[in-house]
Symmetry: C2
Subunit: 197 residues, 2 copies
């Protein structure tokens, strides 16, 4: 199994064939990995969190759940998860404007730019930025619907496995968020890894 | 106040200036109204549920909460709500493929087509279908994240008021969903109304 690095604060994309499995390893245990998938033949078809929630009728996926595209086709199934099962489908990926709202002046690394840069390495361009599947991200909710920015519960080396249900392009960003505690309270963002099986 | 009809199972759009208020009336009380907003000057900027949840950190908005665009700018604020405050930000709008998954053969009215048709009446075209704000839609959640298709709790004639924070195009669809109980268990879908104040 060849591990591919998602560099700290950067993105990485790869082409995946239907039936292949994508293992995503939270190498240091506290790193959120924003994840997107696009149809290989038509990248305007993408994994859609709103269509997926309507399909598995949960706020967060569990082993056995399948994500749908914006055309309601099966694209990825979560088939293995040793991370504790805490992932997020609710929050937009971070972007330059988000850091502006958080008080950052000037440049800040961000998942949106990482996504588009990772895709550009494969000569893929997309017309919008879909909502990500935020692997290992801990966004708890209360009975009255309040959300919070939690710390990851995943342990170092824990992983998920996603099975590709169509030929697709997968893209990851090792989230550079170091202001909110979603990558742990140290503000230390790290690399993560994935493998195609 | 001139009430404009959102016909049963159809869409309707309008141009709104910054500072204007948009009153949305649930005329018969059981009708979900899918709602979208787009920047008047650049319709690739739209109200984004994922960016909005990250801003007000709730699963559903309450009076005083402001929705953000996919560029994290303020676009609409919920300033009045007599409907009981149960709205949805989680579910994709219905589309032809969704009805296919629900076992419908052939045509079924749907919010996605209603959105694009309503915008076309204003000569507006958009490159994708954003996640809607589903006014009056009751999607309850449990502590472990299970979602369900609830019936509306709003009463006939109850309403919300949204204040425009920029010049925008607003679009509505009186949701034609008659298989799931989100418009009530009768399967009777109705018109709704709105007014610009």
């Amino acid at each position: 199994m060849q591990l591919i690095t998602i560099p700290a604060r950067r993105g990485k994309a790869a082409r995946v064939r239907a039936g292949q499995r994508v293992r995503v390893v939270n190498t240091h245990g506290t790193q959120v990995v924003d994840t997107w998938a696009f149809g290989a033949d038509d990248v305007t078809e993408w994994m859609a969190m709103d269509a997926s929630r309507a399909w598995f009728t949960k706020l967060r996926p569990a082993v056995g759940d399948t994500f749908l595209t914006n055309r309601r086709r099966r694209i990825l199934t979560l088939i293995e998860d040793t991370s504790g099962g805490v992932h997020d489908t609710l929050m937009a990926c971070c972007d330059p404007q988000r850091y502006g709202l958080l008080g950052v002046e000037g440049h800040h690394d961000n998942c949106r730019d990482n996504l588009h840069a990772a895709l550009a390495e494969l000569d893929v361009t997309i017309p919008a930025t879909p909502s990500p599947l935020n692997l290992f991200m801990n966004i708890p909710w209360t009975a009255d619907g309040q959300l919070a920015w939690g710390e990851p519960i995943s342990t170092p080396g824990s992983h998920v496995v996603l099975r590709a249900e169509m030929d697709l392009v997968i893209a990851f960003s090792a989230c550079p968020q170091d202001i909110l505690p979603i990558n742990g309270r140290t503000g230390h963002t790290t690399e993560a890894h994935f493998a195609l099986e």
